[in-house]
């Protein structure tokens, strides 16, 4: 019916285009013609409205079928062609939802790319240190992160560390967050859940360096990082957050663990408790254990003896952040204590180390901190280093920071080091949010 009317309208239009001269020439009643035109206009409007309504209904149906997410964005300001990022592939920090699609269809594949970020960590040092002097200027690390949801069952995180001398896979693992039994399983190379600092990447720690106890007993920057499995489970109780983590690794982790044969696996266990004291204050405590073979039995590359290392750790963190002023004021106090029991050819070394630290946020961009360090050496417990640090950090934005650290270290050898360390950190791209 509408089609007939449309044809009629078009025919009249065509007629009108060609007819005027002859119409007037024939002396037709102008008034009648006007009425005809008016009638025509009304019919056209009716058709237009009818088609518009039909189109709207169709668009609504189409929008509903495609999932409503992209539709309203496109409807508002028409920023050009868009494509929908698959749900969740934004991960943490990256774009999600409607993204501009540039050019041909091939470009659409880019929306499946993971979140990519690079964090630069530039370090400088001045002052005197005769025992373990850091370089004057150093691009310590450039960490490339690639993070995305793999499929409905898993997400993957890769952290590739570019140093001045080479490239290393700092972490690369898949996480299964939806397994039965409330288990959170990670498979791949990962930082072991031993204490707090061991789990942190360099840009997450509130200092330019790692504490002496980490350097001496838990392999410094590298830490206990190895290929293996991690299983974490929440332990339900009516009082507080309690999480147990068990990890099995190949058994190779810097100077701490060394695997000479397939059975030389290393094991890490951790129990973490957390409780809110108030909406501003909370307490986070943990106990950790690690066990594996060490390299002290190696002779000309052959592990002639079977020596092991055991590590025990206790950590505690107290945080304060008033919610109404959370971007201006905060305090974080933390300590970690580590006991190392290392079997060696001629002795069993029981070394102990710890640090205390506090960081206070003075203003939106300013943080002041202090740390006290003390630690024995894993292979000679009688040797003890001590250190004190004072820090000041400035954040131009969330994505960059400048930090200065005065560090005074008294080494077991009797040498005293007084140094000023400074750091520039900067992040580009979409780096995922960190765990608390």
């Amino acid at each position: 019916m509408t089609g007939v009317r449309l044809v009629r309208a078009v025919a009249i239009c065509a007629l009108l285009l060609v007819a005027p001269s002859s119409a007037f020439a024939q002396g037709t009643d102008v008034q009648a013609l006007r009425q005809e035109i008016e009638q025509l206009r009304k019919e056209l409007q009716a058709i237009q409205q009818q088609y518009g309504e039909r189109l709207t209904v169709l668009e609504t149906k189409l929008g509903a079928a495609q999932g409503a997410a992209a539709a309203p964005v496109a409807a508002q300001s028409d920023p050009g062609p868009t494509a929908q990022v698959p749900p969740g592939s934004g991960g943490a920090g990256g774009p999600a939802g409607a993204l501009p699609v540039y050019g041909a269809g091939a470009a659409a594949s880019k929306i499946f790319n993971p979140d990519i970020a690079v964090i630069g960590n530039f370090l400088g040092a001045s002052g005197r240190n005769t025992v373990n002097p850091p370089p004057t200027l150093k691009m310590q690390e450039s960490e490339l992160s690639l993070q995305a949801i793999v499929d409905p069952y898993a997400r993957a995180d890769f952290f590739i560390s570019f140093g001045e001398t080479g490239v290393d896979l700092e972490e690369g693992f898949i996480t299964f967050p939806t397994l039965p039994g409330g288990l959170l399983v990670k498979v791949g190379k990962q930082r072991a859940s031993f204490g707090k600092v061991n789990t942190f990447h360099s840009h997450q720690i509130p200092w330019t360096d790692r504490p002496l106890v980490t350097d001496n007993l838990v392999d410094g920057d590298e830490g206990i990082t190895d290929a293996g499995f991690s299983v974490a489970r929440l332990i339900s109780n009516p009082w507080f957050f309690l999480e147990a983590t068990g990890q099995v690794f190949r058994g190779d982790s810097g100077d701490v663990f060394h695997s000479s044969k397939r059975g030389d696996l290393s094991y890490v266990g951790r129990l973490r408790g957390y409780q809110d004291i108030s909406e501003s204050t909370n307490v986070d405590v943990g106990a950790s254990f690690a066990h594996g073979h060490n390299d002290s039995g190696l002779l000309d590359g052959i592990d002639v003896d079977r020596f092991t290392t055991r590590l025990f750790g206790v950590d505690g963190t107290i945080r304060w952040k008033p919610l109404r002023r959370s971007i201006y004021r905060s305090f974080l106090g933390r300590t970690e204590l580590v006991w190392s029991r290392r079997e060696q050819p001629l002795s069993i070394e029981n070394a102990f180390g710890y640090y205390f630290s506090g960081d206070y946020q003075l203003a939106r961009r300013w943080f002041a901190g202090a740390r006290y360090d003390r630690s024995g050496h894993a292979d000679d417990a009688a040797l003890r280093d001590t250190g004190q640090s004072a820090l000041l950090t400035y954040w131009p934005s969330e994505f960059s920071q400048v930090r200065g650290q005065y560090r005074r270290t008294k080494y077991a050898t009797g040498d005293l080091a007084n140094e000023f360390l400074f750091q520039f950190q900067f992040s580009i791209g979409a780096h995922g949010a960190h765990q608390f």
Binding site: Q76, R155, P177, T178, G182, L184, L234, S397
Partner: protein
């Protein structure tokens, strides 16, 4: 035979227990108090609602505390503001929740922004030189009552999907909420009508939807860029501009420092108002409608004091 019948009885009991459990209240967790308030309106006594961020807290910077993991672990539905508002803290909470129902893309995950009217969608190249910009548009969209109605509808649909037997209940409550918002909106619009076009300055870009709906004209921000604290030069430029355009109102979210806004107020003679953008931002803004009641009364009182809007 007796063994079989006892197994059947046991199974029947187990199934009926399951059925009873299924009729328990749906456990809803919303990321903000605004979404929690709307969910409460729609879900009524068929749901329990908790929110993660408090209304007086900057929702961009919430800590991903393990206590929130416990909340999410038991949730049947997670409602997020979306548009990357929670990007800095929600993803690790979801991953650690061990709750398959609320994973992104799963049935129990609702991005409330999906059908809302979003403003400030950047066009052209987006870089961090513009500060902490949201590439998908401004996430403070709930401050438009029209969007509140859209969000209520989305929540009703989602709750009905999770609990089809209560669809009529959720629909009825959603419609009732929508009617109440529409009624109140007429009142709010009428009250704000004399001040249409009034020029204001806000601290952060939290009020574009509010300004757009109620006819305020935001001519500048205390922050030079989103997420970047005020700088002296920007503050001077802003004060000059405010004097030039005779701006008499500065709106500040409750979680920002008042030092710079107060200095601006002293210099320009503008009134500095702490305006909660969220339910729970102040005690009086205890639900979605009361939030607008409070904010609009506050703005109108300030404008009257400044002698604006007598057109």
């Amino acid at each position: 035979m007796r063994a079989i019948s006892s197994v059947v009885v046991a199974l029947a009991l187990a199934l009926s227990a399951g059925g009873a459990a299924a009729q328990d209240k749906l456990n809803v967790v919303a990321t903000t108090e605004d979404l929690a308030a709307i969910a409460r309106e729609v879900g009524g006594d068929k749901i329990t609602v908790e929110s993660i961020a408090r209304g007086y807290q900057d929702p961009h910077f919430v800590e991903a505390k393990p206590s929130f993991i416990l909340k999410l672990q038991k949730a049947d539905l997670l409602i997020a503001v979306g548009k990357e508002l929670e990007i800095g803290w929600l993803p690790p909470l979801i991953t650690q929740s061990r709750n398959r129902k609320i994973q992104v893309g799963a049935e129990g995950y609702l991005d409330a922004s999906a059908k809302a009217r979003i403003l400030d969608i950047p066009t052209g190249q987006v870089t961090r030189a513009e500060g902490d910009v949201h590439p998908q548009g401004n996430p403070h969209y709930w401050l438009d009552p029209e969007n509140g109605k859209i969000v209520a509808r989305s929540i009703a649909d989602k709750l009905s999907q999770l609990r089809p037997t209560d669809r009529a209940y959720f629909d009825q409550r959603s419609n009732d909420f929508t009617a109440r918002v529409s009624e109140a909106e007429k009142r709010w619009l009428a009250a704000m009508a004399p001040y249409k076009g009034t020029k204001v300055v806000t601290y952060h870009r939290s009020f574009p939807n509010f300004a757009d709906r109620f006819g305020l004209d935001v001519i500048g921000y205390v922050e030079p860029r989103p997420g970047i604290p005020p700088t002296p030069q920007h503050t001077l430029d802003l004060m000059t501009e405010m004097k030039r355009q005779n701006v008499k109102l500065v709106l500040v979210e409750p979680y920002f420092d008042l030092k710079t806004p107060n200095a601006i107020g002293r210099d320009t003679g503008a009134e500095v108002l702490v305006v909660p953008p969220s339910v729970g931002g102040v005690k009086e803004a205890s639900d979605y409608l009361k939030l607008f009641d409070y904010d609009i009364n506050l703005v109108i009182a300030a404008l009257k004091k400044a002698g604006a809007g007598t057109r």
